[in-house]
């Protein structure tokens, strides 16, 4: 039998236990430390790298090539205007895309000619378009609105479901951690922020909370009125009991994302698939960590000093007693 199951058994009974709650201050310090490091790293590296959709710029596409290779394309374009910062990538098997900062009409015409020369096609076959900076701004502005509305609604849903605002706060803390760390990784590595990356970023919202809800559901059960034992002990046990499923759900969730990331990056190069899945990939992994090492410690901290409510004599209590 897989050793994960055995570990799961031991975690379940409490035979083996991670001091998630006991060392909660340490875990929270780790979280804060990671955030500070990422923030510093991002600043030192020079902030976020925004895609052409956000900054505005010019884009050239050569399509219908028998074998697309971006080699030399950036140089060809920069030979016209060295300050244009050309970035050339292949898209699929027959398209090369070159993006630059905004250039003048004349420069664009020369660049088209240079690219046509390089690829041996007519100048007219090099598609040129100008991308206004407002496109990305529109997307991100809407995304920001979506984020705010989502956070408000989901806080209400969680507070109602768990019947305590403390869980909602802890869940949101871990969500914030996921978003900030993902953004920080983008900042520190210098991955390009594109509209597709923003989509992936927003999808972390649903994902991160999924994991936290699974953990908190067990916490709620273990600390329901009528259960015996110390509150913090019971929280710790609940987290440990759900670690195996957290790992399993995260692996299963990450596998398809990794597949999209791998195929997207390998077959298509830059583009929607890679950008969506990269943000999600980071987000899910961070989310697994945070539902255990951020959400639970924060919740325990908030409940410090509280005790489990006294049992009310009802049949449900006996059922619970038998289960846990």
């Amino acid at each position: 039998m897989a050793s994960l199951t055995t570990i799961g058994n031991e975690l379940y009974t409490g035979e083996r236990s991670l001091p998630v709650v006991g060392k909660r201050k340490l875990w929270m310090a780790v979280a804060v430390g990671v955030l500070i490091l990422l923030a510093l790293g991002t600043v030192i590296r020079g902030g976020f790298v925004f895609g052409i959709e956000f900054t505005g710029g010019s884009e050239f596409r050569v399509t219908g090539l028998s074998s697309a290779s971006a080699e030399g394309a950036a140089e060809a374009v920069e030979s016209v205007a060295p300050e244009a910062e050309a970035r050339a990538v292949t898209l699929g098997s027959d398209t090369v895309r070159v993006q630059t900062d905004a250039v003048t009409e004349e420069q664009a015409a020369e660049m088209r000619a240079a690219l046509a020369d390089l690829y041996g096609v007519e100048s007219g076959e090099v598609a040129f378009s100008f991308i206004g900076p407002s496109w990305g701004a529109d997307v991100s502005q809407q995304a920001l609105r979506a984020l705010v509305v989502f956070l408000v609604l989901v806080s209400i849903v969680l507070a109602v479901y768990f019947r305590t605002w403390k869980m909602a706060v802890a869940a949101l803390a871990s969500l914030a951690f996921d978003l900030l760390v993902t953004a920080g990784v983008y900042g520190i590595v210098g991955f390009e922020v594109t509209p597709a990356a923003v989509i992936g970023f927003l999808t972390i919202l649903g994902y991160s909370l999924y994991d936290t809800v699974v953990v908190f559901d067990k916490v709620r059960e273990n600390t329901a009125p009528g259960t015996s034992g110390g509150l913090l002990d019971n929280i710790n046990l609940a987290v440990n009991q759900t670690i195996v499923r957290s790992i399993n759900t995260s692996i299963v969730a990450t596998l398809p994302i990794a597949s999209v990331l791998f195929i997207g990056a390998l077959l298509l190069g830059a583009g929607t698939l890679r950008d969506i899945s990269l943000a999600l990939f980071i987000g899910t992994i961070v989310g697994t960590w945070s539902s255990i090492f951020v959400a639970a410690p924060v919740y325990a901290q908030l409940r410090q000093g509280d005790t489990i409510a006294e049992a009310k004599a009802k049949p449900a209590a006996s059922e619970r007693g038998a289960v846990v």
């Binding site: 055995t6 035979e15 398209t95 991308i131 002990d233 698939l273």
Partner: protein, 553 residues
């Protein structure tokens, strides 16, 4: 048990009914709705050009949905007029217009799309049916101009028609109308009706579109104010409008047809020639004819839109070759396949026979998703984009996650020493709550993303929302009922080593065949319960394990 069986069977029957129903509606859409059995693909998978237009408005001014809808209608007319078929024109984020065209549009089409709508009123100087394309012009049906050499004194003066202009009019082919350039407002020009059935010589502009204050549909009334049963458009002018309109109606009302008409010109073509019956002095006119309510509404909309012409500028322009589209589609499908295989392998590794339940459940989810997406594509015009496919692939994980939550719950119950059948029911009750609230959160995220977002995000949020919903359906109507049925087989109920629900492997305290001791309150306050009890539990467990190993040997 019998109850459980009938419940399980009933759920499966519901699922069959649901799938049959979905196949039925898809069949209906294919038979009668012009749908198809495969989802329509968006431009990034099919190849084509997507142009995002943003309105050019004064700082701080906003664009109403109504104006945007009108602009979409006008752009659609223009694109259709340019001969491009299957153009898809939608609004985005209550502000932008997205034009998706198959292939790569030529420069003329691009210009036509961007030109701003221009509405104006011009008096009709002459009119005739359109010349059939490619034929020699028909003989003159309009009287030859009487005073060709005099200087025109008014916009409706026949003196505008010079012999050259008239000759050009005679030979005029309607496909020569250029809607991209704007004819000078103070000059006459030749054009055709929007539907291409009639040609006109129009005088200079007498009323600008900007002077139209409002246009509303109303039941037509006669001079006594009684309803005639028809429909009319009430027109209200302001600014320079009333004066210009009064002068025009005063000038042309008593002229012979067609000179007593003025033309409503939109984008250089005549929307409709309107006969002036009465002199309008206050800028409030009623336009009536043989309108249906829809036709009247459409005219009113166009007049009103003409009152506020919005220009558009290109915000982004993306061309995707058909090859790149096919590449992206292939990559998306391949990623899905690999993701699926990985999830299946991992599930079987972790959950043994239960992994096969995961496979079957995912297969059902895939069937449901395909049917729903195809149906929405047939009826709602939904098009599957690359981001949408990414959403579908990523949802494999979310769907499988709910099975894991359920299985782990059952395992928890087994660890407590419960029988499989009761572990299944208790585990289900608790797992379903968790699944419901988790999916509710995911669904909320998808809905908000969909409602508040633009472009690609929508396609992604759409598939994510659909699959979240399907996840609940599958886990409730398939996975759980299937497990109920399976739990009655020897393989599962006796906890075969490969069933994934082996109580021994799960550390349940076992005392011989189908006899479990009362569960020790292991989880609940282990440490507070004291060392002694924990030791005992472990000892018992070890004994049980040894017992089990001996038996296997």
């Amino acid at each position: 048990m019998a109850k459980a069986r009938s419940k399980g069977a009933r759920a499966l029957i519901w699922l069959v009914v649901l799938i049959a129903g979905l196949i039925g509606v898809n069949f209906g859409a294919v038979q009668w709705g012009g749908g198809s059995w495969t989802p329509e693909l968006a431009l990034d998978l099919e190849g084509g050009t997507q142009i995002v237009l943003e309105p050019v408005v004064a700082e701080g001014a906003s664009v109403s949905q109504e104006q945007l809808d009108q602009a979409v209608a006008i752009i659609r007319q223009r694109v259709d007029a340019s001969g491009v078929s299957e153009a898809e024109i939608t609004t985005q984020g209550g502000r932008n217009i997205v034009v998706a065209l198959p292939g790569e549009p030529d420069q003329a089409t691009m210009q036509r799309i961007q030109a701003s709508a221009k509405m104006e009123f011009r008096p009709v100087l002459a009119s005739a049916p359109a010349n059939a394309p490619g034929t020699t012009p028909a003989p003159a049906e309009t009287p030859a101009p009487s005073e060709p050499t005099a200087t025109p004194e008014s916009a409706w003066d026949q003196a505008w028609i010079t012999p050259e202009l008239f000759a050009e009019f005679e030979a005029f082919q309607c496909d020569a109308v250029d809607t991209t350039t704007v004819a000078p407002a103070d000059q006459p020009f030749i054009t055709c009706s929007t539907d291409g059935t009639a040609r006109f010589i129009l005088g200079p502009v007498t009323v600008e579109g900007a002077d139209i204050a409002d246009a509303q549909v109303a039941p037509a009334t006669n001079s006594q104010g009684q309803a005639t049963g028809g429909w009319a458009v009430n027109l209200e002018l302001d600014g320079e409008g009333p004066a210009g309109f009064e002068a025009t109606t005063r000038g042309i009302t008593n002229l012979p047809e067609p000179q007593n008409q003025f033309a409503v010109v939109l984008d250089q073509t005549v929307l409709m020639p309107i006969t002036s019956n009465v002199i309008i002095t206050d800028g409030n006119a009623q336009i009536f004819g043989n309108f249906t309510q829809e036709a009247a509404q459409s005219l009113a909309d166009q007049l009103r839109f003409g009152a506020l012409p919005i220009g558009f500028q290109v915000q982004s322009n993306e061309t995707i070759s058909a090859t790149l589209g096919a590449d992206q589609l292939r990559a998306g499908l391949l990623a899905g396949l690999i993701g699926l295989v990985l999830v299946v392998v991992y599930s079987v590794f972790q959950y043994r026979a239960l992994g096969l339940v995961v496979v079957l459940s995912l297969a059902i989810a895939a069937v449901l998703t395909y049917l729903v997406v195809t149906f929405l594509s047939s009826t709602e015009g939904y098009r599957l984009s690359l981001a949408g496919i990414a959403g579908l692939v990523i949802s494999i994980g979310i769907t499988a996650d709910s099975f894991i939550v359920y299985f782990e719950r059952i395992r928890d119950e087994l660890r407590e020493g419960k029988h499989l059948s009761s572990a299944l029911e208790t585990g289900w009750k608790r797992a379903f709550r968790t699944i419901l609230v988790s999916d509710a959160v995911s669904f909320l995220a998808a809905v908000i993303l969909f409602l508040l977002s633009v472009g690609n995000v929508r396609g992604f949020a759409y598939t994510l929302g659909i699959t979240t919903f399907i996840d609940i359906v599958v886990v409730a109507l398939f996975t759980h009922p299937l497990l109920r049925l399976l739990s009655r087989t020897r393989f599962f109920s006796q906890g075969h080593r490969l069933s994934g629900l082996d109580p021994q492997a799960l550390g349940a305290v076992y005392r011989g065949r189908a006899k479990f001791r009362e569960p020790v309150a292991a989880g609940k306050g282990v440490r507070s319960a004291g060392e002694a009890q924990r030791r005992q539990t472990i000892a018992e467990r070890k004994a049980a394990m040894a017992d089990a190993t001996a038996k296997e040997d």
